[in-house]
């Protein structure tokens, strides 16, 4: 079916449906491949793999073969991977040690708590700011003043304010995440076409209905974009917080390994951060796609 109205003969405009209804099962019969199978037969996976191999090769060349001064102290891929998957790791961290998972688990827990808090506060606040001008007039100047303050500048206050290291780290992570969520939720409401509000008002919607049926669904796409960005900021802030005040966690592990001259562990923790960061982002995207079916189905 075409999106382009000009491609449709007027008198038979409802015909594409009839065609689609009969054509779809046939199409499905001779092309039963899902998106994954389609992707596997395209050149994309090969290019992906060669990209990764190329990166590893370059890394190997720079650190192990050429030993350039800049890369002199870095462990090469073989050394790192060997350590990462060793049953008996030299520095005590590999996929076979409990400590590795303790660091991952604690980092994830902190990010999860901070992200949850940032979402629970940032989304409603942002939606309300976009919806009610008076509320925006009160809150916007304060938030706009606080927003640009780099998260690292909050470290002393965070340590002074909160009891214990745990709450300070979660607070710092929350800060990083909060403003991105807030700003995008606010923009989400701003992006809703005025005619939707007008149409709903004509159809008899009350204020509370306008919020539930127009503001909330209309802002969703922006909200989820914001959540993905805020998740990125959360990991960024977490690592900084853990380096400064942590006792466990991947950020702490990186800094601790640096001080203890256990360089392969730094690389292991960094890659681990990359993996959990991507996974958390992926989860948000999947949840978003599930909730915003009307946007996904555009075809």
């Amino acid at each position: 079916m075409t999106d382009n109205p000009s491609g449709i003969i007027p008198a038979v405009e409802s015909l594409p449906l009839a065609e689609a209804a009969t054509a779809e099962p046939q199409a499905a019969a001779h092309r039963p491949r899902g998106p994954l199978a389609k992707w596997l037969t395209s050149p994309a996976p090969w290019l992906n793999v060669s990209g990764i191999l190329g990166f590893l090769l370059l890394w190997h060349l720079l650190t192990t073969v050429l030993r350039l001064p800049l890369f002199d102290k870095l462990p090469g891929p073989l050394e790192t991977v060997g350590e990462w998957f060793s049953r008996n790791p030299t520095y005590g961290i590999s996929v076979f040690t409990v400590e590795y998972y303790q660091h991952i688990g604690l980092s994830c827990l902190r990010v999860f708590l901070a992200f949850l808090l940032a979402t629970a506060l940032g989304v409603p606040l942002g939606l309300l700011m976009g919806w009610k001008k008076t509320f925006c007039d009160y809150t916007f100047p304060v938030l706009e003043l606080l927003r640009p303050i780099p998260m690292l500048a909050w470290v002393p206050l965070a340590i002074l304010m909160w009891p214990g290291r745990e709450t300070s780290i979660v607070f710092l992570t929350f800060l990083g995440s909060f403003f991105a969520t807030l700003l995008n939720s606010w923009l989400g409401v701003k992006s809703i076409d005025r005619s939707y509000f007008r149409a709903a008002a004509s159809l008899g919607a009350s204020e509370s209905l306008l919020f539930r049926k127009i503001v909330w669904p209309g802002a969703m796409p922006f909200v989820f974009t914001g959540l993905q960005i805020s998740m990125g900021y959360a990991w960024f802030s977490l690592v900084a917080g853990e380096m400064l005040a942590g006792e466990f966690g991947l950020g702490y592990l990186i800094w601790d390994s640096y001080i203890l001259v256990q360089y392969p562990v730094i690389i292991i923790a960094m890659f681990t951060l990359g993996v959990v960061g991507s996974l958390s982002s992926l989860i948000i995207r999947l949840v978003g796609n599930l909730l915003i079916k009307w946007k996904v189905k555009e075809a």
Partner: protein, 305 residues
């Protein structure tokens, strides 16, 4: 131009065999009458003070289609916004059945220029939105009313599609039905078929005529296509160059039901000639006043004649 005939088995909207009584379980509401008295509307813009509507008086008669035409920027959309209650006039009165208009409400429903279907709701949910939030109809009754309306416009198989999955013409039809299901006293249509290609547009007009002739509500229909205006309207109101007021109202006393074949009739042609002359006069004034797109407009009207 003749409408291309449908494929075998595909009925044109105008000879849809379904009786009108099935579309609504109850009787259609009494159509409303709108009185507009010396309306005045101005805006404070960045480029200065701008009077959009000045001393506009108009009676929108009940149960008829009043088409509104005029040069671009003459305040047609502003008039619709004022009638709908989205904006407040700076002077003058608007009343519907003697009650002053104070805000938006389901007695006056608007069909917007580009579609305003909620993109996050399916076709069915969009149409059901009004009756549901006002708790007027529910359950099977709501379902059957909506489905019979969707059938009338050929959308019954698209009930669970989202607006982004519909073609432009389908979106406009869904929007017509979304307004109509609320049985408004007045429908306000602000160039509802704008942006559609000529073929889809003429089909949309037939769907619209069919719906109107079944439900006979009061209609205010803003258009920039003279043939569209003449084919659908009982009265054609010509608005002057900005600040807009009614220049003249032409009675379009052509027989109903109408179709394309009317376009050759002597009555139609003489009405068209009269309307063209009036429109051309206003277009020229708008051109002299230096409106940005008025040159195109003058050209367009020259081409129409």
């Amino acid at each position: 131009m003749e409408i291309p005939s449908a494929r075998p088995g595909e009925a044109l909207p105008t000879n849809n065999p379904e009786p009108p009584a099935q579309s609504f379980p109850d009787n259609d509401p009494a159509p409303g009458r709108i009185e507009v008295e010396s309306l005045y509307k101005s805006y404070e813009t960045e480029s200065g003070f701008r009077e959009v509507i000045k001393d506009l008086s108009l009676s929108v008669t009940e149960g008829q289609v009043t088409a509104i035409m005029g040069p671009s920027g003459c305040g047609k959309s502003t008039l619709i916004n004022l009638l709908a209650g989205y904006e407040k006039p700076n002077g003058g009165k608007i009343s519907i059945d003697q009650k002053p208009v104070t805000g938006a409400g389901p007695d006056r429903l608007v069909v917007f220029q580009e579609t305003a279907l909620f993109p996050w709701l399916t076709t069915f949910e969009n149409v059901a939105y009004g009756p549901k939030i006002r708790r007027e109809l529910k359950g099977e009754k709501l379902d059957s009313v909506i489905m019979s309306l969707l059938r009338t416009v050929g959308l019954e198989d698209f009930r669970d599609k989202y607006p982004s999955q519909l073609s432009g013409g389908m979106q406009r039809r869904a929007e017509l039905v979304r307004a109509l299901v609320n049985r408004p006293k007045v429908m306000l249509l602000d160039e509802p078929f704008r942006g559609l290609d000529a073929m889809t547009r003429s089909l949309m007009r037939d769907y619209y005529l069919d719906l109107f002739e079944r439900h006979k509500g009061t209609q205010v229909f803003v258009t920039s296509e003279l043939d569209e205006g003449l084919l659908i309207a009982d009265r054609l109101a010509i608005v002057t160059n900005r600040p807009g007021r009614i220049k003249k109202i032409l009675d379009v006393a052509l027989p109903r039901p109408r179709d394309e074949s009317l376009r050759g009739s002597p009555e139609y042609l003489s009405l068209k000639a009269e309307a063209l002359e009036l429109l051309h006069e206003e277009a020229l004034k708008s051109f002299k006043a230096g409106a940005v797109n008025s040159a195109d407009f003058v050209g367009a009207y020259a081409a129409m004649g």
